[in-house]
């Protein structure tokens, strides 16, 4: 599903790319730009976003419906515009999250832009802020580093116009030419087994002494009668006194007749 989102098959959507410190979502954003967009107009809000050096092209305070619409109208052949924001976290630091959501929604509904794709660093904001941006989005892609160092994992959630929700989790990697390769689809998200294909190791191999038995040795072992395992005949032979064996004569002694409940032998019950 990640490739469908990246190739922009969904027109008129709001795609949210979430990342954290452990894996940067910017590479995926670049991949989207290179595959889905035909013409890229770059507006530099990086060199002077707060007006400190006095030569800014676009400041963060200009992120309003009017200013962004003017900017878009200035670009030639502006129809079916896709707005790419890298990164929304910057704007969220300087504006109230509610205002940002309102402006993004207004930009989309107002027809100035058709598709919006933004990059948000989830570990820089409170959960509520990220949650409100998520509500605006029709597709959410969360990237995280993959287990065992194999590329990265992307969890994609897509909401179609009919309201159906589709989710997917895939391992991917980005090549030199910014194309995305999907490695595997994990249908059970959240847990990877340790590889159980390993054959069991034979402990008697590779030793300096011999632990194995040859056939004759095995037969001799099985024939051996163990000292305290008795067959029926041996048991009866031992139990019955044979001729000449010692006999035990016993005469009960008064001291042996010890009653636990009457040690002095004076109860008359």
């Amino acid at each position: 599903m990640l490739l469908e989102v990246l190739q922009g098959t969904e027109a008129g959507g709001f795609i949210l790319l979430q990342d954290t410190v452990s894996y940067s979502g910017r590479h995926l954003l670049k991949s989207y730009i290179s595959t889905a967009l035909k013409r890229l107009h770059f507006h530099n809000a990086y060199s002077d976003p707060l007006g400190w050096t006095g030569n800014s092209a676009f400041t963060v305070h200009q992120f309003t419906l009017e200013d962004v619409s003017t900017l878009i109208k200035q670009t030639p052949q502006a129809k079916a515009v896709t707005l790419v924001i890298d990164s929304l976290s910057w704007i969220l630091r300087h504006h109230d999250p509610a205002a940002v959501c309102q402006r993004l929604q207004a930009l989309k509904k107002g027809g100035a832009v058709r598709t919006v794709i933004v990059l948000v660093h989830t570990d820089m904001h409170q959960r509520g802020t990220v949650g409100s941006i998520r509500h605006l989005a029709t597709s959410v892609v969360t990237v995280a580093p993959g287990t065992r160092g194999l590329g990265a994992v992307a969890k994609t959630t897509r909401r179609t116009k009919s309201g159906k929700l589709m989710q997917d989790e895939e391992t991917f990697s980005i090549n030199e030419d910014l194309s995305v390769t999907i490695h595997s689809k994990l249908s059970h998200p959240g847990h990877t087994h340790v590889n159980t294909d390993e054959t069991e190791v034979d402990p008697t191999a590779n030793l300096t002494f011999n632990l194995r038995l040859s056939d004759t040795e095995r037969q001799a072992k099985e024939k051996l009668a163990l000292p305290f395992v008795f067959s029926k005949e041996k048991k009866s032979a031992l139990l019955q006194p044979g001729p000449g064996s010692g006999r035990i004569l016993y005469e009960p002694d008064a001291n042996d007749d010890y009653d636990q409940e009457d040690p002095d032998d004076d109860l008359d019950i």
Binding site: V21, Y23, S24, H27, Y46, S47, D48, P49, L50, W52, T53, S89, W90, R93, H94, H121, D123, M124, Q126, R127, P145, G149, L150, G151, A152, S173, I174, N175, E176, T181
Partner: protein
């Protein structure tokens, strides 16, 4: 300059990657040995602007002498611009007169104004010597350490704005380098707090291209191994592997030894 660290980072004073933003962070240990390394590394041929907010000039001078670099000479030649935060702050706090003292430390008077004054100071010093800029290589900005301004009342957002502007000027425009040290305190609450050195460190990590995270050993104090360093390259997007390496280190009198985990000379 530590030779082993140079080979780990694949750089040498003659050839190092330009436009890098190096973030050095530490948690419950002291990573300033890396600052001394980078200072002596870049003074081999670049102009360095050093914002020393936590130690005096003589401290760095004494340590650099052991590593073979003379800071006094560099300052006289104009190769090193050193902002002595501790000394200048006295002027700002005691006299309270706006005409005295540099505007660089304006945030001490008014923390809510942010670090714009500091940025203007840095910007001015790099631009000011435009005529002689060809003598030295690309400019380098070093800050030791940036998280101390958080305890002086500056917000995390203001610090991130400052580092963004420095990055736009030093790394992107002038193709120089930036090295920043932040120190994180272990936070007790598990909830993400809005202000705090952890959030600052995360924000700076998003902006940087190379991080060196220094931590003490999880098992406690050891005489022969002083801690672990995790080096993480962020700028690249290699096909499959994300570039991360872990080393242990021991700080000695004239340098630092780096070795792979478990291969300390005391253990082998």
């Amino acid at each position: 300059m530590f030779a082993e660290l140079n080979s780990i980072l694949n750089s040498s004073p003659e050839s190092f990657k330009q436009g890098e933003f190096i973030l050095v962070s530490d948690r419950q240990t002291d990573a300033s040995f890396l600052i001394h390394h980078f200072l002596s590394f870049y003074l081999r041929g670049c102009k360095v602007c050093f914002l020393g907010l936590v130690q005096s000039f003589s401290h760095y001078s004494a340590v650099s002498q052991r590593l073979g670099v003379s800071l006094n000479q560099a300052r006289e030649k104009g190769q090193l611009v050193f902002l002595e935060g501790l000394k200048e702050s006295l002027g700002v706090l005691l006299q309270g007169d706006t005409s005295n003292g540099t505007p660089a430390l304006d945030f001490l008077r008014d923390p809510s104004s942010g670090l714009r004054g500091l940025y203007d100071f840095v910007h001015g010093n790099i631009r000011g010597s435009e005529g002689r800029a060809e003598d030295w290589g690309p400019p380098v900005l070093m800050v030791d350490d940036l998280s101390v301004v958080l305890s002086l009342g500056v917000s995390v957002g203001a610090v991130l704005d400052f580092s963004h502007y420095c990055r736009a000027t030093f790394c992107s425009e002038l193709q120089g380098t930036m090295v920043i040290l932040v120190r994180c305190e272990a936070e007790e609450e598990e909830e993400e707090s809005d202000e705090g050195s952890e959030r600052l460190q995360r924000g700076l990590t998003h902006q940087c291209s190379l991080t060196l995270q220094v931590q003490g050993l999880p098992t406690g104090y050891c005489r022969d191994i002083h801690g672990e360093v995790e080096v993480c390259w962020r700028g690249r997007c290699d096909g499959l592997q994300i570039q991360r390496k872990l080393f242990q280190y021991k700080v000695c009198d004239k340098g630092t030894l780096f070795f792979a985990r478990g291969t300390s000379s005391a253990v082998l």
